[in-house]
């Protein structure tokens, strides 16, 4: 095992102190559930010199609270706890579904919400350091996936430098529900829209988020709204469980009779980052939600899609997935709409 320094501060204040005292040349890598970090350390993809274990310090940020207007999910809550929470399941079904359809029970029992949204891509070339070319792993080295096996790869938001998919599910629910995220770090606490957390790959695919050095996700804040109860997560994959999405859609729709009052849509398994489909939302707003409208909205979402050698089908599949999700949302039985 590659030796590394290991710290387990007791409180968040201690985490920040540890950050300040550490030499800036040795940045900390945070450990929460460990389901991504330890996997990638074993593969040699991540080789941190300092691991700061947040499991003690983060225990204050593991709560699930709903005051009728806002759902606050602590970033250290486990995926399984949130998926099974009755309020989340009843009032924010897209959140519960995105969590319970992800990974396996063992992983959901370990993984935290904060770690989940920061999970790294499953791109095979990123995960295997014997492939020299990976701009995400080694900036400037190239991209082995462009000419490789890229069925899994993204069709939205890619760049010439990186075509990796963001594979997470929960992030799509947060995108769709206009969540914001509370961050804590050496410079204090700040809140940003969740949509501002991830960065498009562009020319710097190794920089995946807008987190400042030493910053930690503390809370997810999700506003309630008429769309939240009419929401769902549709995940399409080759096998029925324990697989990343080939395509997925998180949709939340507020209806006024047959007419869409408000629609919020995010797409998963298809894009380089958690992907909000604003074009589709604009088409749906104030329209009758039928197959024709849903199809037009879905087509708009993929107008700028760029296929790779093995994944052209994902454009059509992504459209069909969104149509299916929208029609399913329209037909949901919802008590308060």
């Amino acid at each position: 095992m590659r030796p590394f320094q290991y710290l387990q501060p007791a409180t968040l204040a201690d985490v920040i102190v540890a950050q300040r005292e550490a030499p800036s040349a040795v940045p900390a890598t945070f450990l929460a559930g460990g389901t991504t970090l330890i996997d990638l350390m074993k593969l040699g993809v991540m080789q941190p010199e300092r691991v700061v274990d947040l499991r003690l310090a983060g225990s204050d940020f593991a709560q699930i609270r709903f005051d009728g207007a806002t759902l606050r999910l602590g970033a250290f809550a486990r995926m399984a706890e949130v998926a099974d929470h009755p309020v989340v399941a009843a009032s924010f079904p897209v959140i519960a579904q995105s969590l319970s359809l992800a990974a396996s029970p063992q992983l959901r029992n370990m993984a935290t919400l904060g770690g989940n949204v920061l999970q790294r891509t499953r791109c095979a070339y990123f995960r295997d350091p014997t492939w020299a070319a990976c701009n995400k792993r080694t900036p400037g080295s190239g991209c082995a996936a462009v000419d490789g096996a890229n069925r899994q790869h993204a069709v939205l938001g890619t760049s010439s430098q990186c075509i990796a998919t963001y594979h997470g599910d929960f992030a799509q629910a947060l995108m769709a529900l206009d969540a914001s995220v509370v961050l804590g770090g050496p410079a204090g606490t700040r809140t940003i829209p969740f949509a501002a957390l991830h960065r498009l790959p562009g020319n710097t695919p190794h920089v995946e988020t807008t987190l400042h050095p030493g910053e930690i996700i503390l809370d997810f804040v999700i506003p309630a709204g008429p769309w939240a109860s009419r929401s769902l997560y549709l995940k399409i994959r080759d096998r029925q469980s324990y697989e990343y999405a080939v395509a997925s859609a998180a949709v939340a729709v507020a209806m006024n009779g047959d007419v869409v009052a408000d629609a919020r849509i995010a797409l998963g398994g298809l894009a380089a980052v958690p992907w909000r489909a604003h074009e589709a939302e604009a088409i749906l707003r104030d329209a009758v939600l039928d197959e024709a409208t849903a199809t037009r909205a879905a087509e708009a979402s993929f107008a700028a899609a760029v296929p790779q050698s093995h994944n052209a089908f994902k454009i059509a599949l992504g459209r069909d997935t969104l149509v299916r999700a929208l029609l399913q949302a329209a037909s949901m039985e919802v008590r308060h709409d």
């Binding site: 590659r2 095979a124 295997d128 080759d238 096998r239 029925q240 469980s241 324990y242 059509a316 069909d320």
Partner: protein
């Protein structure tokens, strides 16, 4: 809990006895090879090639050697000639491939072991392996497989055959089918990894390794190390799944043995899941060209099946199951041919129904295409062409109950009334389709020996170096001895998986029970004769035992399987007991047969494929234990779902590497993919195949499922997919 799943003992069905080692497995006390605790064990970790073809230029071991805890690093430069070049099983030897472990600077394939680090801990060994710097030279683009334009097929003439006049019959036929099919590379991925532990004591070597053939490891290792075989013992008490991957000697065993000798300590190696993709053989990708011709009433008049299989440059390996697909149905004009395509890949090997699965996918899908063209029910097409005489050599089947299987499974499935037109059944947003296929597996047996000891207190001990792969070998051995001697099964103890025991056949070719049960029966016969009890009828031996005044009776017997050469018993004592039978007998053919029916659902928009129902009926001679047989058949059918829809070792052609060598990305069915899977065991009596009347059920379950699923997908959607695995994009 009552057992409603398993038929009670009647006719050719034995008792559904509970597993002999159930408690050990459920409680975790069963010690698999890597669980065996040895004092002062050092840990090994493999370094494998990241290129597909070329040469090792140099190693920089400085950083690795400097890591605390590192004891030794084996490379082709440091190991010298400690391991000899020996032939592979395809050249009359013992190895799974002909490359010499750490034999030279040549790189023949991605994943080839190029070094092995030995350290005080697993973690230190792994880190040191990461620090080994390997420089490669003369890298040229590898031939990755079938699809490469550089690769060309080479015909294997001995595997081809012809009867009648195919060309004329095909040209003049009423109805024909002409189609090409492909299947991908697949890996067995047994849950238990390819662990090996070696310990030397006073010049004697003990190997703990999960194996389907402990005597192959023993004699092969003796040849590699230049040792007298009597100085080697191989122990494999439990095997956590094998599926063909643990059948023959791989590079790792000699490396671990040599490392243990060099450092004078036990050495343990557990290659990673990813390394397991090239530690042993695999199911290579195949291509098929099938042509069928028939009369308007469905009688086959011409059948041609040509297969192409990927092999390595070092070994010519082909499963060539045209020998079976051409013998399933009556047909006067047949041509069959097999080709290999040599690639820069590790040597393929055996994976559950090695040739039967891919060749059946091609033939049984082609038959469905023919049925559709004829507007004929697929079951009726099989009935019209059913035969008790195989059409190539005119030999009789020892028994064949194919149509009984079809009728039984069709009734259980509710096949009657199926609309013949595709894309006509719907359930909400899901298109529904039903398909079926024939399953077959040749009946094999090999030479085996057994020792049975009866004690005056009624205890019985049975020994034979067979193998417990999870299929129920312990239980079967106990059950046969209990029945033959008329004692309660609770009084029987069993030893297996150890080269110190009477030797038995390789646990391959679905032959374990068919080979070892007759040896146990013969030993029990000998005990009965010693006690003056008639053989061949049920009897309790204990009254005669008490009357005899004897303390113990022990009998050792060897049984030679039908179709083996008279001098082949010597091979039993040299790790060469390979199964015979199937289509390789001069006087007859032997097959277990089955019929498999599936229902699939395909979402009308997003095209996911789901398999809510699989029903198979199988006639496989006598079933000694319906419980363990049920497990094998259901497990095989679940494998069939995987072979059709999930399993695919994805290859990056640039270095001929597997890029999904982990269990998150190499998909196998999970519980959610497996809904209603039923195995029905049809009564069948076959006194010819072997004394036990057993045909074996280890592999037949997987054989027809992929074809049945592809046929059901056609029925659901009207889209014929001829390439596995069938995925969403094929149906868009």
């Amino acid at each position: 809990m009552t057992d409603t799943l398993f038929p009670a003992a009647t006719g050719t069905m034995g008792q559904p006895e509970r597993r002999y080692e159930a408690r050990e497995k459920v409680t975790g006390s069963a010690a698999y090879a890597s669980d065996v605790k040895l004092a002062r064990t050092a840990h090994a970790y493999l370094v494998t090639s990241s290129i597909g073809r070329g040469r090792l230029q140099s190693f920089d071991l400085t950083a690795a050697r400097a890591l605390p805890g590192v004891i030794d690093i084996l490379t082709h430069e440091t190991i010298g000639d400690e391991i000899r070049q020996t032939p592979s099983i395809y050249g009359g030897g013992y190895m799974a491939d002909t490359l010499r472990p750490l034999g030279s600077a040549e790189i023949a394939h991605w994943g080839q072991p190029v070094a092995m680090v030995v350290a005080e801990t697993y973690e230190a060994a792994r880190e040191a392996a990461n620090l080994v710097v390997v420089s490669y030279a003369a890298e040229v683009a590898p031939v990755a497989g079938m699809g490469s334009s550089v690769a060309t097929g080479q015909a294997l003439d001995p595997m081809g055959f012809a009867v009648g006049d195919f060309d004329t019959a095909y040209r003049t036929a009423n109805v024909t089918v002409d189609a090409n099919y492909t299947t991908p590379a697949q890996h067995q991925n047994p849950m238990e990894l390819f662990a090996t532990q070696c310990v030397w004591e006073a010049g004697r070597l003990t190997v703990h390794e999960p194996s389907q053939y402990v005597n192959n490891v023993k004699f092969g290792l003796a040849a590699q190390l230049g040792l007298d075989p009597s100085r080697i013992r191989v122990i494999s008490t439990y095997v956590g799944g094998a599926f063909g991957a643990k059948g023959f000697l791989t590079h790792r065993t000699a490396l671990v043995a040599v490392a243990a000798r060099r450092i004078g300590r036990p050495v343990k190696l557990v290659p990673t899941r990813a390394q397991g993709f090239t530690v042993s053989g695999y199911r290579a990708e195949t291509r098929h060209h099938v042509q069928l011709a028939a009369t308007q009433d469905g009688r086959l008049t011409a059948l041609r099946h040509e297969g192409w299989e990927v092999t390595s440059r070092a070994d010519t390996v082909a499963m060539g199951a045209v020998s079976m697909t051409a013998r399933l149905y009556a047909c006067p004009n047949i041509t069959a041919r097999v080709n290999v395509v040599a690639a820069d890949r590790s040597t393929p090997g055996f994976m559950r129904a090695p040739g039967e699965m891919p060749y059946a996918f091609a033939m049984e899908t082609a038959l469905d295409e023919l049925a559709h063209k004829l507007q004929m029910d697929p079951v009726a097409l099989r009935r019209v062409n059913d035969t008790q005489t195989e059409p190539v050599g005119g030999l009789p089947y020892t028994s064949r109950s194919l149509m009984l299987c079809f009728d039984t499974a069709a009734a259980a499935f509710g096949w009657q009334g199926r609309p013949s037109e595709p894309a006509t059944m719907r359930d909400g947003d899901w298109q529904v389709g039903w398909g079926c296929a024939t399953a077959f597996y040749p009946t094999h047996a090999g030479n085996s020996a057994a020792r049975v000891r009866l004690s005056a207190d009624g205890r019985v001990h049975v020994e034979s170096a067979g193998h417990e792969l999870g299929q129920g070998m312990y239980t079967m051995m106990a059950q046969v001895a209990a029945e033959e001697l008329g004692v309660p099964i609770a009084q029987v103890t069993v030893a297996l998986g150890d080269t110190d025991l009477p030797p038995a056949v390789v646990a391959g070719g679905s032959s374990s029970t068919a080979s070892v049960a007759p040896a146990i029966m013969a030993a029990c016969d000998a005990i009965r004769r010693r006690l003056g009890i008639a053989t061949g009828v049920p009897a309790d031996v204990m009254p005669a035992m008490e009357a005899s005044g004897l303390g113990t009776i022990e009998e050792f017997t060897e049984v030679r399987a039908h179709g083996t050469a008279p001098d082949s018993l010597r091979g039993l004592y040299r790790g060469m007991a390979l199964p015979a039978g199937g289509v390789h007998l001069p006087d007859r053919v032997q097959f277990a047969l089955g019929a498999q029916f599936v229902e699939v659902r395909v979402h009308r928009r997003t095209r996911e494929i789901r398999v809510p129902r699989v029903i198979g009926a199988f006639a496989a001679g006598r079933i000694i234990n319906p419980r363990t047989a049920h497990g094998q058949l259901v497990g095989g059918m679940i494998w069939g779902i995987g072979s059709a829809l999930h399993e695919h070792s994805e290859i990056d052609t640039r270095n001929a590497s597997y890029i999904n060598a982990n269990l998150a990305d190499y998909l196998v069915p999970v519980n959610a993919d497996v809904a209603d899977v039923q195995a029905i065991m049809v009564e069948e009596e076959d006194r010819l195949v072997n004394r036990a009347g057993v045909k074996g059920v280890g592999e037949i379950g997987v054989v027809g499922v992929a074809a049945a699923i592809s046929n059901a997908i056609f029925h659901a959607t009207g889209i014929r997919v001829r390439d596995l695995p069938i995925r969403i994009e094929h149906l868009m």
